[in-house]
Homo-oligomer: 323 residues x 2
């Protein structure tokens, strides 16, 4: 498949999605101050970001609202409180996890909601449930994406089947999600081509959500983009679970569309992200994440290792390798 | 040009070069303890590393030996002191900078030296002097490479000319050196192909030395490798000037040749690299390096910015952009 675009021009189909609150919320149980969220909303507008993901639409029956900040639940009224009528070019997104969202109750008519896009997150084995959610959301008037997580663990035949299911559904796009940060650029290119080949048939877009376990999140994002992937996830300073994500400042430095602006992102990092780190919120690459990424494993053991301030990497690696 | 090799097998032509003392020495003025250097020599052997670069062969007439550790000068007797007769598979390398090395005096017959490989570092505008050094070193019996620094600033026509000069010289290999960490993977692939096309004509190898300013050092190294580049530079924990280098632990996790072992590298990091950081030696990615990398500039202003513990990234970027 040919390369799409080049380093001198820009592609009109590219969309940047800020996932700071959602993926970053996994680092601080979604306890962001309103000031943080308001300033982020403003920074994203100024930077030309296309979508801002506010968090998860998790069911309050399954998760205790006393244990999480409000962006775990993304009640429409809480989003309205930040964005008002959102009379801007920045669209509002939420993530809805299969099996963790009471979507029939909580995802209402779009005309009564500040939300524009619902991103349905699923593993490969719950595709029918994902499609059901997508159809509900589409019927309610939302844009939808299907985000197949942990694709590095999926079999190719299952993945092809899943892509056809999404192709035939009402979803606007499918996301290539490297949850474990284990994929190398050449694997990302091969998967991007597979996703694009399928989605081109159905007239749908492809997105990329990369993790930085092996320090490849930015490289994988721009390589996917060069292959034709058009929805690009990033987070401020890379804030996200474990090793974090592609950084918004990296992506804004790369993209050539003049609407994308790096300075508002740098300003926001100065204003807010450094403070979060000072407060003890931890994210970003370290050697332990490299090892789980390399072994194509969930980063939970590396998160625990890091929290315990352990530095016996060799022992950790040998133990992982026996699992 | 076709891809060389794949993710399941390994290429016999790949060589790993540890540049920790040399590029890392730029962070601590080459003041490494003998214990550090001895343990690194041992770790590299155990990890299957092919070459260990001990430092620069700088002229003591030009640099004051009181101001630098001994690995700035790499006297043969100091290397002998670590490696003895070096009865191992690990070859010994040094870097010799054009204009900073009294090579006629300091680079003697290989049979009287512990050194196997002399890497001649040059900018594109001092190629004739580089060739002269290469011919001297080759005549003395050494393997040689020509490392053209800051290639992101060179004009393609000059670069082609330089590659032909190297092709016709006694050099064994040419290095693609992204001194400013400004190149994206697709640029690295294009340059790799250009270097390889030329060097294939002359039966010589190509190497890659990447910097991590945009967090692309590992990605660029493995992408160059997949294009056919065979000499791969890395440093322990990425230690190197400014944002540092491709990390040895990343590279050892990637390469498939069973002779390459990750555990000795992890062990060395636990043993020594964390201590260096505790002692206040600083290297590695930060936002300031991203900005000089993005603007294709020498990282010196980002190094100064970081040393001053400044965090006003927006101001820094605006000032850089006016230079």
């Amino acid at each position: 498949m040919a390369k799409r675009g080049n380093l001198m021009t820009f592609r009109e189909d590219v969309r940047v999605v800020d996932a700071t609150i959602r993926d970053g919320g996994l680092c601080n149980n979604f306890y962001f101050t309103d000031e943080f969220v308001r300033d982020l909303y403003k920074a994203n507008q100024e930077a030309g970001v296309d979508y801002m993901e506010f968090g998860y639409k998790a069911s309050a029956d399954l998760f205790d609202p006393e244990e999480f900040g409000k962006w775990k639940f993304c009640r429409d009224e809480d989003i309205y409180d930040i964005v008002g009528d959102n009379d801007t070019d920045l669209k509002i997104a939420v993530m809805a996890d299969v099996g963790r969202t009471n979507y029939k109750r909580d995802i209402v008519e779009r005309s009564n909601s500040p939300i524009d896009l619902v991103r349905v997150a699923t593993y490969i084995n719950t595709m029918p449930a994902a499609i059901e959610m997508i159809e509900h959301c589409a019927k309610m008037g939302y844009e939808t994406t299907c985000n197949i997580m942990a694709v590095s663990k999926a079999h190719r035949e299952d993945l092809k089947e899943a892509l056809d299911m999404i192709g035939k559904s009402s979803a606007n796009a499918v996301y290539l999600v490297d949850s474990y940060g284990s994929l190398y650029p050449e694997e990302i290119r091969a998967l991007s081509e597979m996703y694009l080949e399928k989605m081109d048939q159905y007239g749908k877009q492809v997105g990329i959500h990369a993790h930085n376990n092996q320090m490849l999140a930015f490289a994988n994002t721009i390589e996917a983009c060069a292959s034709g992937v058009s929805m690009l996830d990033a987070t401020m300073n890379g804030m996200g679970r474990g090793a974090g994500n592609c950084m918004m400042e990296q992506l804004m430095g790369f993209l050539k569309n003049p609407k994308y602006q790096l300075c508002p992102v740098l300003h926001f990092i100065e204003q807010h992200m450094l403070k979060l780190r000072e407060e003890g919120i931890v994210w970003g690459y370290n050697t332990a994440y490299l090892l789980t990424g390399r072994l194509n494993m969930h980063p939970r053991s590396a998160i625990a290792f890091s929290k315990e301030h352990r530095y016996d990497f060799e022992r950790f690696y040998l133990d992982l390798d026996q699992e």
